[in-house]
Structure formats: C-alpha cells, structure tokens
Symmetry: D3
Subunit: 62 residues, 6 copies
C-alpha cells in the first residue's frame, strides 16, 4: 500500500507527470512484488520561487 | 498537538472541506482526550491528473 | 481517494491509534460520499523532543 | 541533506517566502555544521479556508 | 530538484529500499531530462498498525 | 500558524534538534511578524540507508 508524494517545480506538462506516475508505480510494485493497484502516487507542483536549494530560490538559480 | 494533512482531489466545495476539518478535529480531540484547540488540520487539494492509483491518473479512472 | 497523514506524539497505545484511524476514515468517507475503502490513514509517531510549539520542545512543555 | 517543508497560509509576498527560505537554510546549515547547498526548503501555500485550528477554518478565525 | 517521500510498511529489507531509491531516481531523472544527482528520495517506514485502509489497520488486513 | 516538517538523517543529538526547532521558529515568527507560539516544528529522523541522493543511499555516500 505504498503512498508516494513527489514534490517538483510546477510547469511540467500533464503528460510528463502521468509518465512519472506510471513509471514510479510500476517500479515500486515490481520491486515489492505487489499489485500496481496498491500504489498511490501524488505529484505536488511547487512554484520555483517557493523552493530553495542552498537558500537560493529556484527562480534565481543560475 | 496533532497535525493532520489531508490530501484529496481538488474541486470539493469549501463547505465540504470545512466539514471535514471540523469532524476530524473533534474525533481526534475526543479520542486523545485533549482540547480541540491543539489539533491542526490542513487540507491539500491535488488535481486529479497529478494523482495516480495503480499508475492510472485520476482523470482517466473509470 | 483521500490520503491522511496524522503526526502526533509517540507513546499512544496502538488501540488509540486504531480508533483514530477508524473514526477519521468514517468521517471523511461519509462527508465526501465515498466508500471507506478509498481512504488511507497513516499515523506518524514523533518523539516529544523532536516537536516544538513556539520553539519549546514537547518534553519541556509545562 | 535536510529537506524542509513549510506549510503556511497563502497570500504572503514572494519576497517574504524567499526571506524565510534563506533564514531557515542558514540556521540549519550552521547548527548542523554542513554546507548550505545541502539544505532544501519547500514552501507550501495553503488557502486559509483549507486550514483549521481547533476545528475553526483560518478564514473564520477572529 | 524533485523530492520524493515514499511511505510504506516497515519491515522491508534495506536492500529492497535501496533498490526502490535507485529505480525511482532513475525514472524521474530520465523522464524530466535532469541529472540523477538532483533527485532526493526519502523512504518512511510505517508500522502496519499505524496504517489504515478503509479504516482497517494493516495488521488486521486479511 | 505555520507548520514546519524537517526531514534529516537520524543520529543527531537531541540538543541539536532542539536548537534547530528554536532557531527556525524564531526566524519564521520574526519574518512573518507573528507570535512564536503560532509556529509548530516537527523534526523527522530518517535512517541514512532510507535516504537517497542521486540514487545513492546515504550510508554509501562518499
């Protein structure tokens, strides 16, 4: 019954998010030997300016 | 001092979310024998297409 | 398909946690008008000394 | 490699969020004696009406 | 810079968790077209009795 | 009413965690101009082997 929360920068196309949901579900189900229907994946979009690495907000990185 | 994060599909009316906040707070306070003021509930809305069960995004289910 | 994360101080008996799981699941399913089987509740135990309110760790409160 | 999730009411200016990201990153890096680049901070904005304290939604608080 | 939190029942061998960390990191990096070093995965072990589906704690499930 | 979840490698002394709780609470309260009593900080300890950066578990880094 794993639950997966994926935090990433907003702005990715819906198709990319769905591809991630499918791949991560498949991996985890296979490795744990459980049915895919038991895996829940939730993608959380975060604005770049609300996300800091090393104290630098995403919209100011490089 | 429990903190509760509830992830659910976006699109529910505000009144429904408030009803959930009230009911969950009341239950937890009663069961733990603490004052309701110590319970925090945060509802996180997630778009259906960002939420997969069994690898199938919410907007493609059934 | 709501997913609920409940953070609370560790040390509560297992029966209390199960009571919370049952009550919160019932509440949310009823209010949303969905089947209880669609609700997942995860209780996370946190040591008091890892939990601060107003900067005061739980094991130093009152 | 600490990861910090900060949930707060939406509506704060971006500059305030960035100030928080910088201050929290600096604190944690200094206290742990690690490089700031290892600290990730994610600010999650939550609508007031989705956030309850004591069962009272944020938009109805005093 | 995605951050992934995976909640699952405790008791899995460390090697299984590491396999999941590797697979999920690889998937996400490939799909997003970013370097694997930018992906953080955190596995959270949860006791079965603290995890309910449909209100039934994990240690009582079939 | 901010709620802060800090995920970090387990093994830090309690005093270090408390120092982090105090510093982060003070920063956020000052920057938001709110009372410290409104800030909750929860530190989550994660075993190094359950934490991967770039797919490499923490206990294999370096």
């Amino acid at each position: 019954m794993p639950v997966v929360n994926i935090y990433m920068w907003e702005g990715r196309p819906i198709e990319v998010k769905k591809e991630i949901i499918k791949a991560v579900t498949k991996d985890i189900a296979e490795i744990l030997g459980i049915d895919q229907s038991l895996v829940t994946v939730i993608v959380m979009d975060v604005p770049k300016e609300s996300w800091g690495v090393g104290g630098i907000p995403g919209d100011e990185l490089k």
